[in-house]
């Protein structure tokens, strides 16, 4: 067998070319198969089983009832809308903050760059739970922030900051900002300075340079950041359950509830599969749209 593979690799045949291309990918493909595709297949299989009172009851019926229930339930629709809005709002706020930071990062001095980089990376180094609990304590009805506002006479009685949509978007933005800054800084760094100089010499304003030079040339970074932040935000469980809780219900909370609290694994699997496919479609749609907006994916200024 080994001899066969080696001879195929050595020959200049089409099979040999495919094998030479496949061999280095083999470890990754095997890992993907074992740890992603097989569990995904199991998830799909489980989502097609009838709901039974006990997990893994033998010989359950195959049915689409779980998917019908997923789409028929108004709560799931509300959760899907919440997830989508939370994801989009987080992407918008993350990009609005990360883009200027990325531009400044590529133009400032070395000590400033170090300082900003460390500040941006800090949320990654801090344990996720610790970071969320920090926000949680800050936003509590009788917490530090509200006490300070009350002391300053700006509010009369506690506001509902925790368990609100803005608070959830705020914390998700804080947690995912470092990823966007890192990706965008790399994209901005790769914009050729001579293009910007040329535009300036031709009399373009800063706004026009940004719109016609910077934006198209950094679009791959923007798209990559947006996809990453959107996927992380939509599939996040810990931050929504601690910050938004029952007032901002999102899909991952329902998946967890079906799996562990209601012992209804098939419904949880169906919901998880719907979320996975939705995120994949939205991500693909976003990539296609971004490609069209930036001259059919040429990513170049003509």
């Amino acid at each position: 067998m080994t001899r066969l593979v080696l001879s195929a690799l050595g020959s200049g045949t089409r099979e040999g070319g495919v094998l030479r291309w496949l061999l280095p990918l083999l470890p990754v493909l095997v890992l993907l198969l074992i740890f992603f595709l097989l569990p995904l297949g199991e998830l799909l299989r489980m989502s097609l089983l009838a709901t039974r009172p006990m997990p893994r009851t033998p010989d359950p019926d195959v049915t689409l009832a779980n998917y019908v229930a997923v789409f028929a339930d108004p709560l799931h629709a509300e959760m899907a809308v919440n997830s989508l809005l939370v994801g989009l709002a987080t992407v918008i706020f993350t990009l609005l903050i990360a883009y200027p930071v990325a531009i400044y990062l590529t133009r400032c001095g070395s000590w400033e760059r170090t300082f900003i980089s460390v500040a941006c990376l800090l949320p990654i180094f801090v344990n996720l739970i610790v970071g969320i609990l920090g926000w949680y304590i800050l936003l509590l009805p009788f917490g530090v922030l509200q006490q300070a506002l009350q002391w300053a006479g700006l509010i009369d009685g506690p506001l509902r900051l925790l368990r609100s949509f803005p608070a959830l978007v705020l914390v998700l933005t804080y947690e995912h900002l470092p990823f966007a800054v890192l990706i965008l800084a790399s994209a901005v760094q790769n914009v050729p300075q001579d293009r910007i100089n040329a535009a300036r010499l031709l009399g373009a304003s800063n706004l026009r340079i940004f719109r016609t030079v910077m934006l198209p040339l950094t679009m791959p970074g923007i798209v990559a950041s947006a996809i990453l932040v959107f996927s992380l935000s939509v599939s996040s469980y810990l931050i929504p359950i601690l910050i938004g809780a029952q007032r901002v219900p999102v899909i991952p909370m329902a998946i967890f509830s079906y799996g562990t609290e209601q012992m209804n694994w098939p419904m949880g699997a169906a919901l998880a599969f719907v979320l996975l496919v939705s995120v994949a479609l939205i991500t693909y749609g976003f990539t296609v749209l971004a490609g069209r907006l930036t001259r059919r994916g040429q990513w170049e200024v003509t």
């Binding site: 080994t2 009172p53 006990m54 997990p55 893994r56 009851t57 033998p58 709560l75 609990l133 949680y136 304590i137 509590l140 009805p141 009788f142 917490g143 506690p158 809780a245 029952q246 007032r247 219900p249 329902a254 509830s257 562990t260 609290e261 209601q262 012992m263 209804n264």
Partner: protein, 358 residues
């Protein structure tokens, strides 16, 4: 793949197969007995320090104890099908009753573990044929805990009734447990019972919760969240298990448990023999030692849990009674709920809660 890698892979496979066969053979010959324990302070330590050596001496059985959540136990035991490897499961009583209804337990013969006959009557749950299937391992009443120091400082009378949760002086300082937790389910049924409903008619419970919402600071599922809010001074009054009062007091916050005048639902931990599990003789001996007065006293002193054994309480000092905060004098105020009826509709209640209580 070179020769060394091939040899290593083959050795690994052989080792895995041998290990698995070894475990299976050990269980078949009953030289090893697996027990699932509930996650509770000092539970595993007490079992391994006291019961394991006795089983080793009398039965030549090595005890393997693992502390995991109740739902996880059910999932694992169900997955083992008719070839159960676990002999004993310590699960939440309601979860245990549901698992036994599904045929995961074998009936317990009290004559083979005489110490189990010392339990209070309510501590034994039976199947449809009136055979004991789940025995309570502790006594936990779901009632109201309150911040003793804060209430004293503000000259506020402590709560004494479920209706007190709506008192205006507690507005914004009350936390309740969601029905996703067993304690929350028990509290919801209790609120329903106070308002003309019960296990068969939960509507009044939901109505009472909605009426309570303006007073609520938080709805929590995990006691860790309550613990945070409690220690930060955000919440003064909470619906939870009585054992949280000594736990929070030990954390430095003066906390007391109030047994509501209308009664508190009892939600104990439970223990069952797993259907088809090996080592039956050793498993009965385990139960017998577990319910011995010495072991129960150790659990009360070290773990702060009230014992469901009648004779154990005769050996408890007054100081120890005060530390436990739920004594046999309170047991007649504990309300036994119909968990079989609750379990059949609990998922619907959770779904309804997610839709209605925000």
């Amino acid at each position: 793949m070179n020769r060394f890698t091939r040899l290593a892979a083959a050795a690994g496979c052989v080792a895995l197969v041998t290990l698995d066969a070894g475990i299976a053979a050990a269980q078949q010959a009953c030289t090893q007995m697996q027990v699932y324990l509930s996650i509770f302070p000092r539970h595993r330590e007490d079992v391994m320090e006291v019961i394991a050596p006795q089983l080793r001496e009398r039965h030549n059985v090595e005890l393997v104890a693992e502390a995991i959540g109740s739902a996880n136990m059910v999932e694992r035991i169900a997955a083992q099908g008719g070839n159960a490897r676990v002999s004993i499961a310590h699960w939440d009583l309601p979860v245990g009753i549901q698992a036994c209804d599904q045929g995961l337990c074998k009936p317990i013969d009290p004559a083979r573990a005489p110490n189990t006959q010392r339990l209070f009557d309510w501590a034994t749950s039976r199947d449809a044929q009136s055979r004991p299937v789940v025995l309570a391992t502790n006594v936990i009443g779901v009632g109201i805990i309150y911040r003793d120091d804060e209430l004293r400082r503000r000259n506020i009378a402590p709560p004494t009734s479920w209706a007190d949760l709506r008192r205006p002086e507690f507005r914004g300082r009350v936390a309740i447990t969601a029905p996703q937790s067993t304690w929350g389910t028990a509290a919801l049924v209790m609120l329903a019972r106070q308002n003309g409903g019960g296990e068969q008619n939960i509507d009044p419970g939901f109505a009472a919760t909605r009426a309570l919402q303006p007073s609520l600071h938080s709805i929590f599922t995990w006691t860790s969240e309550l613990s945070n809010l409690w220690q930060l001074g955000e919440v003064w009054v909470a619906v939870t298990g009585n054992n949280m009062a000594p736990t929070l007091t030990a954390a430095g916050v003066s906390t007391r448990f109030a047994m509501p005048t209308e009664g508190a639902p009892v939600v104990p931990g439970g223990v069952s023999l797993v259907n088809g599990g090996p080592c039956e003789a050793a498993a009965y001996d385990y139960l017998n030692v577990y319910y011995s007065d010495d072991f129960q006293l150790r659990r009360m002193r070290g773990g702060g849990v009230a014992s469901p054994s009648r004779t154990t309480w005769e050996r408890v000092t007054d100081a120890e009674r005060a530390g436990v905060n739920l004594t046999p004098a309170d047991f007649d105020k504990l309300v036994n709920l119909n968990w079989s009826a609750i379990n059949s509709v609990r998922p619907q209640w959770i779904q309804r809660w997610q839709r209605e209580i925000r």
